[in-house]
Amino acid sequence: MSSHEQQDGPLGDLEAELLALGDLLDVPAPPPADTVAAAVRARLTQPPTESPDPAGAPDAGAPDAGAPDAAGEGRHPVPDPAHGPDSLRHRPPARRPAGRPARRRVRWRVAVAVVLAAVAVTAATPQGRAAVARILRFAGIELEITGTPPRPVTTTAPLPGERAVAPSELPGLARFEVRTPARLGPPSAASVSDGGRVVSMFWPGGVRLDQFDGEMEPYFFKQLGPPFPEYVDSVGGVEGWWIGGEHPLGYLRRTDGTAVPLRQAAPTLIWSSRGVNLRLEGVRTAREAVAVAASLR
């Protein structure tokens, strides 16, 4: 390389030393190549994609090829949350290649069986996250994918520290740039929660948009059974997940990761944009939700 030519001996020696050092570094053995290949292939083929065109195939998570489903009710593709539209992507804590031991699956099933709070405690530790394999993270939201529909939440609770504010006050109260979807017009109400980390706007008909700090660990968690979230790929500049059914929604308290149940949420689009995570709830169809998302100003 050039510095070899430009420099005298010692620097060249340093380069040789670095090359030798590289060979001595302790890098964990990669998983077997055919295992990786099979896992990748499984992810490329398993999603219930609307497009058979491989180039347009949305990401879908590893369906644990090679291991029977823990609950024996068939496999479910796991959505891949890693491809948010910006650099602040969240990824699932543990995606297993095909053929990993079934041990984690059992623990996962146990975890699914326990109540909300316990799941949150499990998820609060790195080990727990690894064990609860189907907790996925995307756009600051943890998605807990279970094989059976979760029990609906019948109560409603506000976000931590939530207070109503005038929509016009929002920009000064949030820790990030607040935007409004032009398509919905001005919101009829607004609130700020958790010290400005979450901003919510409301429109008539149960439509709400939550915007929250994208730099942090997940804020919300959702429990999802079938049908599984639908990947929305770059429609109008939005790449995210559409959760078409009602589902329990909770909040992860920043201080200790405690899961706070909030309410049964309506269909929701989740995505992230410019370092801010967003969830739009209450719009009826994915297409309309994406149109709203694309109209953020």
Binding site: M1, S2, S3, P10, L11, D13, L14, E15, E17, L18, L19, L21, G22, L24, L25, D26, V27, P28, P30, P31, A33, D34, V36, A37, A38, A39, V40, R41, R43, L44, T45, D53, P54, A55, G56, A57, D59, A62, D80, A82, H83, S87, L88, R89, H90, R91, P92, A94, R95, P97, E215, M216, E217
Partner: protein
Amino acid sequence: MDDDEAIARSLDGDLAAYEVLVARYSALAHRTAYMLGAGNEAEDVVQEAFVKAFRHLPGFRRGAPFRPWLLRIVANETHNLTRSRGRRAELALRLGAEADERAPDDPEGAAVATDRRGRLLAAVRRLPERERQAVVCRYFLQLTEAETAQVLDCPVGTVKSSTHRGLARLREEVGNELA
């Protein structure tokens, strides 16, 4: 089947051909992800990168080398991973056990060598990110300057200068003496 053919077939939807590519480059991708800071999540990053690479394959310039193109995706995924956690990409590198086992007939010399390697590695870890990445790509991953430029998404000139500055800093920190 060479890369070009595998890519052409993959573009036609032949997943078996893509599997060949994945198998061919998975170990290098893993090493790259690990060394660029993915640490224990290198496996996830690699799987993600291959899935993403497949999706972006239609945009791959035919005839170009696949290796640096893929490694750039690996580097991006690694970057996203570390950034999404809001932390600096730690260089989770350690000296392997075999580094201590050389020259068993010269324990003192071996100890000195080990010490120097440890200091050099620590100095690499402390480099500013840009320089560290250039040094890791050039020496630990043994990529060419052109490959490094592609992987790090910067001009070759930047790779040259980052590497040069990084080497100068390392030299300053650990000196020139060879163990």
